[in-house]
């Protein structure tokens, strides 16, 4: 089985789809000749041609706008937004256009586009290279939002996204590109080599959108996490000796509520993790749904562990990041309640 990091897995997914389907085009800022600032598209222009993998002007609204028009004309564009922090100029095209086109035209026109963009902190990116804006997108009817946490899922879900007939925002936790991150920035960096989810089949396979992945089985507490926080959760639970049922949500909308409900009904305790700011974060949605469905099974208040309600600071990056200490405290609280 080939070993890949998350960048290689994403590139491989693009390569597989571009080889299979001439309707798949890849474009964005610096994605062509150079292969993207994170190298996710490296070599694709060479392999598939200038007309299939190309650079765009620095114009996120324009990038998503042309993607919609191309999709309406039968193509399957995959657009890259260099950092999720840069996506806001494209918000109108995503929220009002891509997500609404099928509805407002009653199926006459559709926008099967995939928008890839790196999210999250951990690389000293400061306020403009670290954001996790997922909740701004899960609030939009007509859009799907997914966020894989490992190479295997990244490839399988990206192929699913490209083949899906709805617009999909594909969030890539950039801190996980080269290896799983367990929350300690001072620990030696791990790579995906040797990790079972770093084993990525070659060729075509899919990971369905809308299904959570069980990271560990446990009867003590349910941990709902996605992106970078999945691996922090795993490490903290292990270190504390807590038998945690950890769900990597992977797909935020559609959400695998059945898996969440089954887990919380089993454990009676729930901790929700995300890197994004707290207020109106996706954790609020998760907490609401858990209490609606599992209220009588709950033995403790639901806990949220999140970034603070501040912009993502630079020097204070690790003070902002919901690291092992914050996660551990919440786990302890919910276990002792």
């Amino acid at each position: 089985m080939p070993q890949m990091n998350m960048i290689e897995a994403i590139r491989d997914a693009l390569d597989v789809k571009m080889s299979q389907d001439s309707d798949v085009l890849v474009f964005g800022e610096d994605v062509g000749y150079f292969g993207g600032v994170f190298r996710a598209t490296a070599g694709l222009q060479d392999t598939h041609g200038l007309h299939r993998c190309f650079d765009t002007p620095i114009s996120e609204g324009g990038i998503v706008g042309i993607a919609i028009g191309m999709a309406a004309n039968g193509l399957r564009p995959v657009a890259e937004i260099q950092f999720a922090d840069y996506i806001y100029p494209a918000y109108d095209q995503i929220a009002s256009e891509a997500a609404r086109l099928r509805y407002r035209s009653n199926g006459d026109f559709t926008a099967p586009i995939t928008i890839r963009t790196p999210v999250g902190g951990g690389i000293y990116g400061g306020t403009t290279h670290s954001q996790s804006p997922e909740a701004l997108f899960t609030h939009i009817a007509g859009l799907k939002t997914v966020i894989p946490s490992n190479p295997y899922d990244a490839k399988g879900m990206l192929i699913s996204a490209i083949e899906d007939n709805d617009p999909i925002l594909f969030l890539e936790p950039k801190r996980l590109y080269n290896g799983p991150f367990y929350g300690d920035p001072h620990a030696p960096a791990k790579t995906w080599r040797g990790h079972e989810l770093g084993e990525v089949p070659s060729g075509h396979y899919t990971v369905p959108i809308g299904e959570a992945r069980k990271i560990s089985d446990g009867a003590d507490v349910t941990i709902l996490a996605y992106g970078t926080m999945v691996w922090v959760a795993q490490k903290v639970a292990e270190d504390m000796g807590v038998e945690a049922d950890i769900l990597d949500l992977r797909s935020l909308l559609p959400l695998d509520i059945a898996a969440i409900e089954a887990s919380v009904n089993k454990t009676g305790r729930c901790v929700i993790l995300h890197e994004a700011t707290r207020t109106s974060g996706f954790g609020a949605e998760l907490a609401a749904q858990v209490q609606e469905r599992c209220f009588y099974a709950l033995e403790a208040p639901i806990q949220r562990v999140t970034g603070w309600d501040t912009p993502y600071p630079h020097a204070q990056e690790w003070a902002y990041f919901p690291g092992p200490k914050r996660v551990g405290n919440a786990l302890r609280d919910v276990m002792e309640a």
Binding site: L25, G62, A67, G69, A72, Q93, E97, N106, A258
Partner: protein, 416 residues
């Protein structure tokens, strides 16, 4: 021209239209070119050769009905009579729908009165497979392409005959079968999408081109800039049309872009070909569109066309134009009426007469009346729309998602 003096006592400049309610509008300062310049360059010329075209005005029809100049198109009298009919039919439909909105049959309507020649002349010069990315005032293109007027009316009535199942407000049509993209209520967004559509067409080595529309007001949106920039970068086979009808609801064109330059000239800095055309002259619109379409189809890239016209009615049924501009302004606007100008031309060349014209107007009226009757029988907003409420859960995604299914069940319970 003399500007109405405002109440501004600071150095901040805020442009104002020359005339407001209570003024006597005098547009003699707008020169109506008699020489019918500029010349018609080769459609594959350097974009640079169209610089002057961005600041002059392409005209073919003189007010006396004669044609003149480089841009006189080769077009048969029969086709022109068809254009006359399309303009008259569009106008008759607009009249009827406006009246029916006033009677509460629909929530909203938007007329295109006074600027029908832009849509009709443009559509005539394109192939039906060329994709239009319209605004809400290009209904004439649908009429020209033979869309069912009843279906259009059902869309406005949001009734059981509405192909959109009541999901969109009136006038925001979607007619893929007529090469007419779904209209967005968010202005300007379609511009860059149309450029993307055209890029896809080029990628597929297809001859189809895109033609995208905006009013002059929405050229202030970033999407307009994106469209011009991407169209230039990738030489997208498309036409970018700015319908300058002078008014964006109550804001005159100087608010959208200042008063220094034409909208066509916006294209010059992007290296696009630029044409500025008398939008009340259906022959000139046709000729300019033909030129731009040929340029796009033969690999010459995009053209920005400013159609200089005038919005005779309010923006929509929701505004009263006499509240922000002189009541007589539509009458004194110096470029005449597109229907009258085409009629005069056809009469002058012996292909039309007053009797036939009166009969045409009558026939359009009765066609509209019949279509409306049939449409209203399928429901309307003042009675019963006859649209199934459960369809609101459909077409959000390709396939129903579990959370939406659940909400549909909740809604069913609410209805018990």
């Amino acid at each position: 021209m003399t500007k109405k003096s405002g109440s501004n006592s600071s150095r901040l400049y805020v442009p104002e239209p020359p005339f407001r309610p209570g003024d006597t509008p005098d547009y003699s300062y707008i020169s109506v070119p008699a020489a019918h310049s500029p010349s018609r360059p080769d459609p594959l010329c350097d974009a640079d050769e169209t610089r002057a075209h961005a600041t002059s005005l392409i005209r073919v029809l003189r007010f006396n009905g004669e044609t003149q100049g480089d841009w006189v198109p080769d077009i048969s009298a029969e086709v022109l009579r068809g254009a006359l009919r399309d303009i008259a039919l569009t106008r008759a439909m607009d009249e009827r729908m406006f009246t029916m909105q006033r009677q509460g049959k629909m929530s909203f309507y938007m007329k295109s009165t006074g600027e029908e020649a832009v849509s009709i002349g443009h559509a005539l010069a394109l192939n039906d497979t060329d994709m239009i990315f319209p605004t809400y005032r290009q209904q004439g293109i649908l009429i020209n392409r033979g869309a069912s007027m009843k279906e259009m009316m059902c869309q406005c009535l949001s009734n059981s005959g509405d192909p959109l199942d009541g999901k969109s407000i009136p006038v925001l049509y979607s007619f893929k079968k007529h090469g007419f993209f779904s209209i967005s209520g968010n202005l300007g967004t379609q511009l860059i999408q149309g450029v993307g559509w055209a890029m896809a067409s080029a990628y597929k080595n297809s001859d189809e081109i895109a033609s995208v529309f905006t009013g002059e007001g929405a050229t202030a949106e970033g999407d307009f800039h994106y469209a011009l920039n991407f169209a230039s970068t990738y030489r997208a086979p498309c036409i970018i049309n700015v319908v300058n009808n002078q008014w964006a609801i109550s804001s005159f064109q100087g608010i959208a872009a200042g008063e220094g330059e034409t909208f066509a000239a916006r294209g010059t800095g992007y290296g696009l070909a630029t044409l500025r055309v008398d939008g009340n002259d259906v022959l000139a619109v046709y000729a300019a569109t033909k030129w731009a379409a040929e340029r796009a189809r033969r690999g010459g890239g995009a053209t920005l066309i400013e159609h200089f016209t005038y919005r005779k009615s309010g923006h929509s049924t929701s505004d009263d134009p006499t509240k922000y501009r002189p009541e007589s302004e539509p009458e004194v606007w110096p470029f005449g009426d597109p229907l009258e100008r085409l009629k005069n031309h056809l009469i002058l060349i012996g292909e039309w007469d007053e009797t036939r014209h009166a009969a045409l107007l009558e026939a359009c009226k009765s066609e509209v009346r019949d279509a409306y009757k049939a449409a209203e029988a399928m429901g309307n907003l003042s009675g019963e729309t006859k649209v199934n409420d459960y369809t609101m859960f459909e077409q959000v995604y390709e396939r129903p998602l579990p959370h939406l299914d659940e909400q549909k069940r909740m809604f069913a319970k609410e209805r018990e």
